[in-house]
Symmetry: D2
């Protein structure tokens, strides 16, 4: 790094669709920061929103921006106050930077900080050779964890947060929506002692992946009678836990329809429109619990994830469908849009 003040990065340069890969200055870093040399980064649906410049992106993103919030790498430099990591450490990071001073931060709920900023969304991210991370947010990775897995701890953490947001051992689970986080959720539920896992997904490619993740039952909500099937398999009781990953209004309603009385509905997928619910029958008489799930618990989720990976309880290989150099970022965007990829990992630097 020292020899070269510039680096390769994906840059959202202007308020318009697209992005380019070009040289930008290596980020500066402060006394409380680490500078991390990125080894691998993975692409999230959010990155596609930014790339395509949709409504959400137009309201949130201020170009120029280096996107990317899922990655791993090695610490290249540390600021003078940094004590918990050192040069050469293999790390990832929690990219939600909490303020530390609001009510939520002070009671241990930093994942819903009132003043959160997200690296890769509100500030420079990880689709680059180097990324600056505050010490508090750097996460050291156990040496036994493969690089590719280490690059996707952010979405895996979403799945861990969702599945472990209530009791899971011995409970039936329906994972609704089998994008990467849904697929990870299948693995996490199984690893944490769940009873049968029902995966519900209209896209055939994703259903195939759900089978590879060893969901007990994989259903197509368009052609299968999901409710009848679920009720039969649960002796008419319904499922204990809904992990809603689709953000689709119809799917959400189906989740409420198949959850058992007293069950849990954990919502992570973001609906783009309002959703009309029969609160009387689906929530109140059922005595159901509905949870909004956001980010990852800082840092309980990270410790849980680390333990599950380190003890070999998660096989994530089926989810990683594509690998390519960072410079091919636009190809990655095309693959993502095709509906035939799941997690795409990109590698910055000349060696790739």
């Amino acid at each position: 790094m020292a020899e070269s003040a510039v680096m390769e990065a994906v840059v959202k340069a202007t308020a318009a669709p697209g992005a380019e890969v070009r040289e930008v200055p290596v980020p500066e870093f402060g006394a409380d920061d680490g500078l991390v040399k990125v080894k691998a980064a993975s692409i999230c649906g959010t990155d596609l929103h930014i790339y395509e410049w949709d409504n959400w992106a137009q309201n949130r993103i201020k170009p120029p921006l280096v996107p990317g919030h899922e990655f791993c790498g090695h610490v290249a430099k540390v600021g003078k106050n940094v004590t918990s990591v050192k040069e050469g450490d293999f790390v990832s990071a929690e990219m939600h930077v909490a303020c530390g001073k609001c009510f939520q931060c002070r009671i241990g709920e930093a994942h819903i900080c009132q003043n959160v900023t997200i690296l890769g969304v509100d500030g420079p991210g990880a689709f680059a050779e180097y990324v600056r991370i505050p010490e508090s947010n750097i996460w050291k990775i156990d040496a036994s964890i493969p690089v590719d897995y280490a690059s996707l701890l952010d979405p895996l953490g979403n799945a861990v947060h969702t599945i472990l947001a209530g009791e899971i051992a011995g409970r039936t689970v329906a994972v609704i929506g089998c994008g990467p986080i849904g697929l990870f959720s299948i693995a996490v539920a199984r690893a944490c002692g769940s009873a049968e896992v029902f995966a519900i997904e209209p896209n055939e490619h994703r259903r195939e992946l759900a089978k590879k993740m060893k969901a007990d039952y994989v259903l197509n909500p368009v052609t299968d009678n999901v409710k009848e099937f679920v009720m039969e398999k649960t002796d008419g009781t319904g499922v204990d836990v809904i992990a809603e990953m689709s953000g689709n209004g119809k799917a959400i309603k189906q989740g409420f329809d198949i959850v058992r009385m007293g069950g849990r509905v954990s919502l992570l997928g973001i609906p783009s429109n309002a959703v009309t619910l029969d609160l009387a029958n689906d929530v109140i008489f059922k005595g159901a619990v509905v949870q909004g799930i956001n980010g990852r618990l800082m840092y309980k989720t990270w410790f849980q994830m680390n333990a599950l990976l380190k003890t070999g309880k998660l096989d994530l290989d089926p989810v990683i469908t594509d690998r390519m150099p960072l410079r091919d970022f636009s190809k990655g965007m095309e693959r993502l849009k095709s509906g035939e990829s799941s997690k795409i990992i990109v590698y910055p630097g000349a060696s790739n």
Copy 2:
């Protein structure tokens, strides 16, 4: 009782509006039942639905029926297997009779039993001189608790269940809807160490009662800027706990709007129509928890309620607006419709 095989009772005789007070046979009881001489009973909104024969009632009620599910009295007779209560005991009852055999019953969630029947709705109730209750559902009342309070443990239990369905000590609470259960909720929250209580209610008579129950702030959602007010009083954070007692769609949405990030929304009021929610902003990004609240925990809620009453922590007097003989039941219905009464207590028998 022995001398007379008949008793005074409110009877919903036919599938039509109205009800009559007339003589009916004293109920028979089995080996596992107690027969209770009713001292006082209180009128619930459900009784008005039955009286007016609305859609819900037409679908649920099978006349002839003696309604009434809130009461207290003394045990008159017990079946031969009954050991936990005896003649003369001062008692009330949980009128939700659980099956004891479904999944929910077997894991300690009998309040959401799959096969529940409700005395006073699905079978003969307490608007009568005598009512039959299974031993398991009879609740002995501490002698220090006044008769009128003892007659309304069912709705008070709804309030206790709602308020204590999560942490309450030190937490701000918004009670939305100040019918009897809402008013009770104000008292319960205060008695259990809540921070400030916001009561939100459009009806002026009810707002007056909310003040008498010592809500810290009483707001009219039609004329007050509820959100602005709440945000100012909570330093921009929002309230910790919403106790939704109105069942009104607009009010429910306001509840989601003023709950803090990471807060709890406990829904007890039954909306008659579907409700459209902005799940993304109101639940998911907020990391909120939504709970459907149904009945009373069997019998944890009853023990909690008993302790709060016995130690004098609840002043419920303002809620009891009307008292009358059982024979004036129809007058009670009129008072209830007027919107100027809250809890109406009726007393069966010649002595009243």
Copy 3:
């Protein structure tokens, strides 16, 4: 059964060491009971206490008694009120019969009922061709679960209750004492997503079994420096969860010594003497939580266990070291005393 009013059974006939296998009348059963034909039963340490007639047995047991509280079989007859099981069903049973009327029973804590009686201890048990069980305590077994596993749900349930008495996913666990319940605990912890499991046991045969159960680390507390080892493997933090299965005072103290600040110590093994603890350093400054674990949650534990078995998450084969006809019960006692057996299953009836 109808043809023969007698059956083979183990009988503790007198207040003295020993027991005999002989014919006794088939048990009578009431309107709320099922009569179960025993297929397999397993031997517990408690049975050895009864056999050897130690102090505990002398104070608790009233001969004559048919012992045995771990078993499975098929329903042979049901009383007239029984609706949830029928002739031919494959079942086991919770042998702790709760009163249903005490405070604990009424708040969903029947496993610590004030008036519990235990079949096989306080009344006739399962070391026999037939055993009477109240309907409420009969547990239907999924057809996919092998007979031998089905015979040991009682001690497996102890392990499930202990391990799931708090968070386990992503947490390190030390199982202290590797008798059958300790060995089961290793399997349950792993199946429910634990981080590394440390098994601590002085008996070599049991340590070998702990390895077969796939404990990550198996330690001999007599010759290994357990604390040093644990601290090294946990980066100086200590283990999250102690599952204490030995009842040995020294072992219990070691558990408190290696649990992390804020960790959980779940005590199931019964010490025969008082234990001296450094509460200041081991509990208070540590902010530790200590739990007494008793029986199985009725019936949450049973549902959890059923799910773990049905989805194939538990391999219990290494724990089953001996199988023999019921008539060889005394040989089973000898094997148990040898310290070289773990779970011994006996099979009643001529076919064995």
Copy 4:
């Protein structure tokens, strides 16, 4: 402050009994600190240990030291990075300074930080005109809270942490040991909806204070049959929650003896010696939960405490028995030793 580089302070000057009040330099403060002008400070038992130079003090304290860890005051100056408080704010502080980097800190358990340092014990404290506090630990006090109450948030927080470490609404509580934290616990339990509170204390003066705090029953463990009394008042069930504030071995054992099956024992009082417990009968068969309580949750306990005080739910006046200028610190020590005082508040500066 600017005019004078020195201030009045209590100084533990040497490794010997005693302490002196003299002038010392006003503390320096850094970019992330606030300097607080102390308005009132209160004396803790720990300060007496330091004064008398007992074993604990000899091992922990490094003279010279300004002790004092309970106080309130106004912010005099802030470092350049400080944003959450400003000059003139009325504040107190959490004097346990957590490292922010250990496992416990990262999972929201900073109150049991592995590397905690305590201001007033391990570094300069609040028995002085000025005290330096890191911004993260400064706590803004609502203007409605009286100065004297604001000076004792640290021990009040211990009581809040203990009482709210599990469910309290509707639960009976035994407070064992009625020093200041025990007395506060009575008030907190009552304010948070407890059922009857039993206060147990051998010292007559403290029993009088317990009555003034409105404990329902005040017992002398030396002369009263505590167990018989408690069992009678709880229908033979025992108390739900033990708040152990004495640190006395005999008292701790009595706590285990009177707690109900399934009850909670929260230990805060520090025993100076090991305690011998009948774990089989007192913890395991009882299914009891034992908690070590340390400090205050950061900062959940502080928010709870703030709410209870702000809404006027706590009357602490009876606990404040003595008020004196800081310069009379040695007199305060004598009063504390007399056993006839409870909380002693001292006021630094010429105006006192």
